[in-house]
């Protein structure tokens, strides 16, 4: 396909795809390379990286293997990012499609709700949800999805608003097509590409939100999360700064990979726009 060829010609997008594949590979090989519990004792605490070949990225203040935590952390980050994104995009599309297609009172009510959610700082809302429902990994993932839907909803709505007045949609009405079918079969496929591209932004933000929550010790303490490790490294920041530094690089690489792929998709799907910016209704990162 032409879009695929355009994507392959874009070096930044290819770099993003390579990085993303690397992160996925890391996540997939984690149980093979580090079959033991990554949160278990692996050796003397606070060994520097490359000092001991058995724990080549060193150990943290509790003597846990940093490499094992980084590898297993990739699983957690990708999983949370993916699931939260699916939740946010699904709600966003549903709300945005209905609001944009019907307009009027329905649109007014739905957009008021969306605005209300955007009025609450999303990280604060996340704190409230975690405070109420606890911080096991499922809750955290669902909570992140729940605070991330307004931006995709606005984007979907904007697409529907322009598409619903297009003549091809009017033509379908004139043919006698019902609303549900017009929404799902005629408009949605045309509205989807920018929303898919925007999903990369949602995913990047979701990964950052989880890491920030974990850093504050408010995420699930029983899983190896990069944010947890950075938080744990704070106590020894003065001397053993590598404990916090290494997982930070892992987050950076992952978020960078997701963003580059998103931007590459955007450029490939909208060849006439040279700018990046799938961020029209952006909520950015809280972390």
């Amino acid at each position: 396909m032409a879009a695929l060829r355009r994507y392959a010609r874009n070096p930044a997008a290819l770099l993003g795809a390579a990085l993303l594949l690397l992160v996925i590979a890391v996540a997939l090989t984690a149980p093979l390379l580090f079959p033991k519990d990554p949160l278990g004792l692996a050796g003397r605490p606070l060994q520097w990286p490359f000092a001991n070949p058995k724990v080549w990225l060193g150990t943290d203040a509790s003597g846990r293997d940093i490499a094992a935590q980084v590898f297993h952390g990739a699983r957690v980050s990708l999983l949370i990012g993916l699931v939260a994104t699916v939740i946010a995009i699904a709600i966003g599309i549903a709300v945005g499609a209905v609001a944009g297609f019907y307009g009027g009172i329905v649109d007014d009510v739905l957009m008021r709700i969306t605005e209300a959610f955007q009025t609450l700082p999303n990280f604060l809302l996340l704190l409230v949800l975690v405070a109420v429902f606890g911080s096991d990994i499922t809750t955290v993932t669902v909570a992140i999805g729940l605070v991330s839907w307004p931006a995709p909803a606005r984007l979907t709505r904007a697409e529907f608003l322009t598409l619903r007045n297009r003549e091809f949609v009017q033509a379908c009405r004139v043919l006698g097509m019902g609303d549900a079918r017009i929404i799902a079969r005629e408009i949605l496929p045309n509205a989807l590409p920018p929303v898919i591209v925007y999903a990369s932004v949602v995913m990047a933000v979701a990964i950052l939100l989880e890491s920030a929550l974990a850093f504050l010790n408010l995420s699930d303490p029983n899983v190896a999360s990069w944010g947890n490790l950075i938080g744990a490294g704070r106590g020894v920041l003065r001397t053993q700064w590598y404990v916090s530094a290494i997982p930070g690089v892992a987050i950076l690489v992952t978020v960078l990979a997701v963003s580059l792929v998103g931007q590459g998709l955007n450029d490939a799907l909208n060849p006439r726009l040279r700018g990046p910016a799938p961020v029209k209704a952006a909520s950015g990162a809280a972390a």
């Binding site: 605005e115 700082p121 604060l124 408010l218």
Partner: protein
């Protein structure tokens, strides 16, 4: 005047939803395991159930949820946010003490991110495809992908621990007793790293938006008209493109006000700043739900205020607004 009216109209429209949210959140917090009294008792190192019951009666926690909600909303209308169990003071007082730090941090970060983002975005758009664009866009992406708390920690390692140029945390030198200008400079020194940390991700977003917006505006018909008049490139940018390209940026500031407030929770925790964000974190950890709810309320008010100002600025920038588009 029309602009002010329109902005006021939008302001008025946002209030009912605010109350709906707060009611929702209040009910949500009823689901939370443990209440303020549990937290209080835990802090006192335990106590007998009779004391707990008495405290519950005192705080009105023995009433049914609906009655509590009614009382809560009624108090909100009077701007009474209730008592903070942990701090032993009215929530409003606690928040008022913490608010200035957060406002200062947000104001400084927003200014930095907006001005920096605008400047870099314009620069990148002007040099599209050349090395300044590549450099700026790459840096922007890196900033965007960096978790701010990690950036803050690394800043502390480099600038506070290794170089010793800047303080590692806090709002001011405790016990130094600075006054006047010396105090201002001391606070400013303490805020350099937090401001940079909070601003960076927004700077990255703004520069991307500004670059895209600038590219789009520069391809529009009226820019060609300006060129056909014999205007030079600088004139075209300053007199015609910039103001138009700034419109989406202004909208974005409003949309992201809440996100920025959320970001300050993390940044204030990293740098031990006594602000609203850190208070939110503390109240989650210590289960001071009354305070948490108060913070959410004040944050929402703050976001609404920012959006009100954004509406006014937008209206001034774009004469079409007054005409109702």
């Amino acid at each position: 005047m029309t602009i002010l009216l329109l902005a006021l109209r939008r302001l008025a429209a946002s209030l009912p939803t605010l109350f709906v949210i707060l009611a929702g959140l209040f009910l949500l917090l009823q689901l939370a395991p443990g209440d303020t009294v549990d937290a209080l008792m835990a802090q006192m190192g335990g106590g007998d159930p009779a004391t707990a019951d008495e405290l519950r009666r005192y705080y009105g926690l023995d009433l049914p949820a609906a009655a509590q909600l009614g009382r809560y909303l009624w108090r909100l209308v009077q701007l009474d946010l209730g008592q903070s169990a942990i701090y032993g003071k009215p929530v409003a007082t606690v928040i008022a003490e913490r608010l200035p730090v957060t406002l200062l941090l947000m104001g400084a970060s927003l200014t930095l991110a907006f001005l920096g983002g605008t400047f870099l975005g314009v620069l990148a758009a002007r040099r599209i495809g050349q090395w300044p664009d590549t450099l700026i866009s790459t840096l922007g992406l890196m900033f965007y992908a960096t978790p701010s708390f990690w950036f803050g920690l690394m800043g502390i390692v480099l600038f506070a621990i290794h170089l010793g140029w800047l303080p590692a945390g806090g709002f001011e030198e405790v016990g130094a007793g600075y006054t006047g200008l010396a105090h201002v400079l001391d606070v400013a020194r303490h805020l350099v790293l937090p401001t940079l940390t909070l601003a960076l991700v927004f700077l990255a977003t703004y520069l991307r938006i500004m670059r895209a917006s600038m590219l789009e505006v520069m391809s529009l018909d009226y820019v060609r008209t300006a060129r056909a008049k014999g205007l030079g490139e600088t004139g075209v940018i300053v007199r015609h493109a910039l103001r138009n390209a700034l419109l989406p940026m202004v909208t974005l500031v409003g949309l992201q006000a809440g996100t920025m407030l959320g970001g300050s929770v993390v940044v204030e925790s990293v740098f031990a700043l006594p602000g609203l964000g850190r208070l939110a974190y503390e109240s989650v950890v210590q289960r001071d739900l009354n305070t948490l709810l108060g913070i959410v309320f004040v944050s929402a008010l703050l976001v609404i205020t920012v959006n009100f100002l954004v509406d006014l600025i937008y209206g001034r920038l774009d004469p079409r607004i007054a005409a109702g588009r």
